[in-house]
């Protein structure tokens, strides 16, 4: 096989251990019932399509996208916060120049969306959309207001803990991640099936850390949250006697 012009060794992105990953379905989250696939997924070896991915960056970000508190010519209501951290891969390597897309409810727990019409006020100066690109060391930071909790119909008196949605591409199709960042000590964790779908060993990694050293005096509180994407294996892989990747 070696010597063929189209033979090459590609990096692999080993999957996280199953007990550290959120499953696609979770019984307490009712919407999974008719939506989460029931059959076991088929293993897809990582080839060219999987180890490449969209290269997105500054071209998808407009000035002001990193500050959600200044929209439509005025200031958003609520507790102003800075959310910051690094995007890393599982080998500890920063993921630089990577796009993060975020969205969230306003301080009253209301999303600016047609299907969210619970009786909490909209904020004319908050649309809940943010975009940033990591710097050369994988760092990101944006300014927003702390989102409120909100009720939903999953079960009687169900409330979502405050959270911010994050979407990241990394640099490979295998690294694509959409997730939610929570705030420390939220009393709503215990009854929330979306939070509890995360395996216990992984839940802390979904929760930001309050960082007094990064609060901005007379201005904003600060929360730190690092995002870790899958990384590549560090040694060239070997093939077993069947030619499969060992």
């Amino acid at each position: 096989m070696s010597g063929s012009p189209s033979s090459f060794v590609l990096p692999r992105y080993p999957p996280e251990d199953a007990d550290q990953r959120t499953p696609v379905a979770f019984p307490g989250y009712r919407s999974t019932g008719l939506r989460a696939p029931l059959r076991t997924p088929v293993d897809l070896p990582h080839r060219l399509t999987e180890i490449t991915g969209p290269v997105l960056g500054e071209d998808r970000v407009a000035p002001g996208d990193a500050d959600l508190t200044l929209r439509a010519g005025g200031e958003a209501q609520g507790q102003r916060i800075v959310v910051f951290g690094r995007v890393l891969d599982s080998g500890g390597r920063p993921v630089p120049h990577a796009l993060l897309e975020i969205w969230q409810a306003n301080a009253a727990g209301r999303y600016r969306h047609v299907v969210d019409n619970w009786p909490a006020p909209l904020d004319p100066h908050f649309d809940g959309l943010g975009r940033v690109v990591t710097d050369s060391l994988g760092r990101y930071e944006f300014t927003t207001v702390k989102p409120g909790a909100y009720p939903w119909g999953n079960h009687h008196n169900a409330w979502r803990p405050a959270h911010i949605h994050f979407s990241l591409f990394g640099t490979a199709f295998t690294q694509r991640l959409v997730t939610q960042m929570y705030f420390p000590g939220d009393p709503l964790f215990g009854q929330d099936p979306i939070f509890n779908a995360i395996p216990p060993a992984a839940r802390d990694r979904a929760i930001a850390t309050f960082d007094l050293s990064r609060t901005q005096p007379d201005w904003a509180l600060a929360y730190a949250w690092d995002v870790v994407l899958r990384g590549t294996d560090q040694t060239p892989f070997e093939t077993d006697e069947d030619g499969d990747v060992a």
């Binding site: 008719l34 059959r39 060219l48 649309d127 760092r139 991640l177 939610q180 979306i194 990384g231």
Partner: protein
């Protein structure tokens, strides 16, 4: 931007210390590569359109570009009902089978105006991506993969994305030799093969049901 110190980030001392048996703070291993646990996924929820809408999302290539096709289909739940709050993302090679990415060992693709990625929500009942049909892609072992598109589906009710592939019905010969398709049953293969339409191709994604789409663990 000011710096911050994170427990997750190795500092220079730890990174550079390669003496056998040297403890590395925070890794849980006395000697071995640093491994951080990954951030767990969560559902996009019902309000994904706030954060994940790009006006140009569906256009991996501009409409009217020679060779442009529309790839369309519904996303269906276990009752056969249309899922109107899903998002479909596509990633693919260009017509030459090359990727707009630095890790393509043949060099990054240079098809002008083509970006490889498409993103469409399903609020109008189906996803729709305007793209160029990909060429065959080397499998890395001297053979070829049939033209294909990698697809991620996100939706309320899915706590992680689900991944599938789109192949093309008018590539029967290439499909018959594709290393992924040949590992599947006839029924399974059928869930991945888009059929030609007037302006492109169509493939429904069945999240559940008798014709549940083949989803992949990547």
């Amino acid at each position: 931007m000011t710096t911050h110190d994170s427990d997750l980030v190795r500092d220079a001392d730890e990174t550079n210390d390669r003496r056998p048996g040297t403890p590395r703070r925070g890794t849980g291993f006395l000697d071995g590569p640093l491994t951080l646990r990954t951030t767990p996924s969560a559902t996009v929820g019902p309000f994904l359109a706030i954060g994940l809408t790009w006006p140009d999302g569906p256009f991996a290539v501009a409409e009217g570009t020679p060779g442009a096709v529309w790839l369309r289909g519904r996303v269906l739940d276990g009752n056969g009902d249309v899922v109107p709050d899903a998002m479909v993302e596509t990633w693919q090679a260009d017509p030459d089978g090359r990727f707009a990415h630095p890790d393509d060992p043949r060099g990054a693709a240079t098809t002008e105006g083509f970006r490889g990625v498409g993103r469409s929500d399903t609020r109008h009942g189906e996803y729709a991506i305007c793209t160029l049909k990909p060429g065959p892609v080397p499998d890395g072992e001297g053979g070829w993969q049939a033209p294909h598109v990698d697809v991620s589906v996100f939706a309320r009710g899915l706590l992680d994305r689900v991944v599938t592939r789109v192949y093309f019905a008018d590539e029967a010969q290439a499909n018959a030799a594709d290393p992924v398709l040949t590992g599947l049953s006839t029924e399974q293969r059928a869930t991945l093969v888009a059929q030609p339409t007037e302006d492109g191709y169509r493939l429904d994604v069945h999240l559940q049901g008798d014709s549940e789409t083949v989803f992949f663990a990547v």
